[in-house]
């Protein structure tokens, strides 16, 4: 039986301390007299511009799950009345807020200060539900910026204008009121400049997914995501991606694959399974499967070359959410399928995995029809794997293994 080996990158080991520092700074913010925002959705650039400390919903849930505290937070939320089937990200926050409010024991590193402002992005309606819940339970000051995903290209201009107007007329005045000072447009431009430089480097790294064997996996990309998203503008971002790029370059020159030998190149759809990356990695490695591109990981500023750092930063940001971006459009299956077809050819992919989160309906609608459309157009097989990004109770080891094996067999049969 063929044995496969996982070659871990050295650079990704540097990300842990960067992420830990972010959350540690956030925990200490109140003691340091700093204002705190929480964000569901991509609007954290704006509190950052005002030098507030800021949390990000999915980033926090991934962090808490990675620290092994996800399940405990879900249990606390359920003790408070939340239901098993509700979004795990929603419940992780409700659990944490309840732990803070009622002094319920939970790992110290996942406790956060309650915010001075909660900003909901509403890319998905549940982002709003979570902010509404915090308002009702904690009386937290909440502001909403609706960011509806477009169903077709012609929807984009009006939605982009809508997003921009909400930021300008609603979010910025609110931040000015809370911070007691004028909005710092220059700082926002600076943050976008750092983001641009970081994301350009990130894209150069992404290109290495085209190499055969691929020197890194989508999981490596996932753990590197923070500097191009919720750690936007941080000074560690550019050096991190420079080191990462150098390591990928070296590996590709030496033909070192992330998984050796590389047997199957995989498209991954849906959330990355944040709480279970190691578990999935081991199972996929055993079958020689390398997860490469995916529409969720690609949604974070995929076209940084279009970021206008000289003009109005609010316009530039709204464009990154809509016309030049991926955040809003990748959430709609109709907008993302053409991109997936293209990736399959460009990255020479052999199969697709649709990771269908049972507690999150953002990605799971359309998964079976994706597989059919991909089979028709690209001629490669796919499977749906049901699970969850945080909740271990919704992941079945046996089902994951069976479906991975089935996919492996289908791909092997077609490769012959």
């Amino acid at each position: 039986m063929q044995k496969y080996k996982l070659n871990r990158l050295q650079t990704t080991k540097l990300i842990g301390p960067i992420v830990d520092k972010h959350w540690a700074d956030l925990r200490a913010a109140k003691e340091n007299g700093e204002l705190v925002a929480w964000c569901s959705g991509p609007m954290f650039a704006f509190p950052y511009a005002m030098k507030m400390k800021c949390h990000f919903m999915a980033g926090y849930a991934a962090y808490a799950a990675g620290r092994g505290a996800g399940q405990r937070l879900l249990e606390i939320a359920e003790d408070e009345g939340d239901l098993l089937d509700a979004c795990s990200y929603h419940k992780a926050h409700m659990g944490m807020a309840a732990a803070v409010k009622k002094n319920i024991p939970v790992k110290e590193e996942v406790i956060l200060p309650l915010p001075d402002l909660m900003i909901t992005g509403r890319l998905c309606p549940e982002m709003s539900h979570y902010a509404e819940g915090l308002y009702r339970r904690m009386n937290i000051n909440v502001i909403g910026i609706d960011s509806p995903p477009p169903a077709k290209e012609s929807d984009i201009p009006a939605m982009e204008k809508f997003c921009e107007h909400q930021i300008r007329e609603s979010l910025i005045p609110t931040l000015e009121g809370i911070c007691g000072k004028k909005f710092d447009y220059d700082n926002l431009s600076r943050i976008l400049s750092v983001l641009k430089e970081t994301a350009l480097l990130r894209n150069e790294c992404w290109e290495y997914f085209k190499c055969t064997p691929s020197p890194w996996t989508l999981w490596d990309y996932g753990v590197s995501i923070a500097p191009v998203f919720y750690l936007m503008g941080s000074p560690e971002a550019v050096p991190y991606y420079k080191k990462l790029k150098a390591e990928l370059k070296k590996r590709s020159e030496q033909k070192i694959g992330a998984i050796e030998p590389e047997k199957h190149r995989i498209y991954w759809d849906g959330w990355l399974p944040w709480g279970f990356l190691g578990q999935f990695s081991r199972k996929m490695t055993n079958l020689g499967m390398v997860p490469l591109v995916g529409r969720y990981p690609w949604e974070f500023f995929p076209h940084p070359e279009t970021i206008d750092t000289e003009g109005d930063p609010v316009v530039a940001f709204a464009k990154q959410v809509y016309s030049n971006g991926g955040l809003a459009r990748q959430n709609m299956p109709s907008m993302s399928l053409p991109q997936i077809h293209k990736w399959i050819e460009e990255y020479k992919l052999d199969g697709v995995i649709m990771f269908s989160s049972k507690s999150c309906r953002m990605w799971n609608l359309g998964h079976n029809d994706f597989i059919k459309a991909i089979e028709r157009k690209n001629g490669i097989p796919g499977v749906v794997i049901d699970g969850d990004m945080v909740d271990a109770r919704l992941n079945s080891e046996a089902q994951i293994e069976t479906r991975l094996e089935a996919l492996s067999e289908m791909m092997t049969a077609r490769q012959k």
Partner: protein, 381 residues
């Protein structure tokens, strides 16, 4: 024997497929399915087409599960199942409003499998406090109207739209009259019947339905209430957001010495709330209706209006003894709000029970045990 108006509503509610298929054959009118809440049906009507609200079928999902995972709500799964089974061939088009994540993902599945000549996705915004929300809403409704005009090959004048609004408002007035009769005379119409009457309104041309309502109101005015019902405990039903509740469950509630005196169901008082103001700017008036914060709707992203307060006010106004919350499994807007309803009602010492309902599987025996316990609590036994 001539079929009564109430019986006709029940028949249409129970089998909308036959009714709409026949209607289509006879009238040749285009039928547009609306998925599901808050869609401005008046615009579709003004274009000479028939808007019908998407419903949950009476059958288990089969082929639909090849397209929608079982951990999605019954309405989504059932609607897709009906589409892929070809049960909705009388429908010419579908409009889906982004009321939840399931609605967000559905147009893609419909487009892949139904290939309808008209498929629209409507993004009416959250009710956040800002001017851009109002501007975007109006633009979105205008965009919807333009698309409908193009598909129907007609122009919707303000006059036509006001006429449709008037027809829809009149239907709401009549339905509200029946609701008020039930509030004043609990038991005059059963919960199942009330639901079917509203559901028929979502399917039939409003002009015909309003005629039936006139007959139903006349019949109810003559009706003697069963003396046993007078001693029943008044309850409110809440939830079941955009999907038909299980009718047997409604019967069970009323067979257990409770009487439903009011509700906030979508296929209920929620659908008939807020008539549109007739005036010079009907599109703006339609937008104004959507912006109203009552009945509070968890799909609208309204941060500050409290659904529980609304329920408490309804309970007190009706002198009801408790609230039965019907929570559809896998309905995120309701799921995320429910803990706050439960906790606030508990703080106020208001009796409440939540029954989780599902499209295929509902344990009626378990529901009965829980409802028996609930009636003992509210009855002080």
């Amino acid at each position: 024997m001539k079929q009564g108006a109430l019986e006709k509503c029940i028949q249409i509610s129970e089998d909308p497929y036959s009714y709409l298929s026949n209607l289509k054959n006879e009238s040749k009118k285009k039928i547009i399915s609306c998925f599901a809440m808050h869609i401005p049906e008046e615009i579709i009507h003004a274009a000479g087409m028939l808007p019908v609200i998407a419903w949950r079928s009476n059958e288990s999902v089969t082929l639909g599960h090849s397209h929608v995972a079982p951990y999605n709500c019954g309405l989504t799964r059932s609607f897709v199942d009906d589409i892929v089974l070809g049960k909705l061939e009388f429908i010419d088009g579908i409009v889906v409003h982004r009321m939840c994540l399931q609605a967000q993902g559905m147009p893609f599945i419909l487009d892949q499998n139904a290939k309808l000549p008209y498929l629209e996705y409507l993004s009416m915004p959250a009710l956040y406090d800002s001017i851009p929300i109002k501007d975007f809403l109006l633009e979105e409704i205008k965009r919807f109207q333009t698309g409908i005009e193009k598909y129907a090959e007609t122009q919707i004048t303000d006059e036509k739209l006001n006429k449709s609004i008037e027809i829809y408002n009149k239907n709401k007035v009549f339905l509200n009259e029946i609701y008020e009769m039930r509030r004043q005379n609990p038991g005059i119409i059963k919960a199942r019947e009330m639901l079917c009457v509203v559901h028929a309104s979502m399917i039939m041309p409003k002009e015909e339905h309003t005629k039936l309502l006139g007959e139903i109101i006349a019949e109810l005015k003559k009706k003697e209430i069963d003396p046993a019902v007078k001693n029943a405990h008044k309850v409110i039903i809440s939830g079941s957001m955009c999907q038909t509740p299980n009718l047997e469950l409604l019967d069970m509630i009323e067979e257990l010495n409770m009487v439903v005196v009011d509700d906030d169901l979508f296929i209920g008082s929620r659908y008939i709330a807020n008539p549109v103001e007739i005036g010079d700017t009907p599109l703006k008036a339609i937008a104004e209706r959507y912006l109203k914060r009552t009945p509070p709707c968890p799909t609208k992203g309204d941060i500050k209006f409290d659904w529980t307060d609304y329920l408490i006010e309804m309970l007190e106004r009706n002198k009801a003894k408790g609230i039965i919350n019907l929570l559809i499994k896998y309905c995120p807007p309701h799921m995320c709000y429910y803990p706050d309803i439960k906790n606030k009602l508990a703080e106020r010492k208001i009796s409440e029970i939540m029954i989780e309902v599902e499209h295929e599987v509902i344990s009626m025996a378990q529901a009965k045990t829980r409802l028996q316990s609930f009636v003992e609590i509210i009855g002080g036994v």
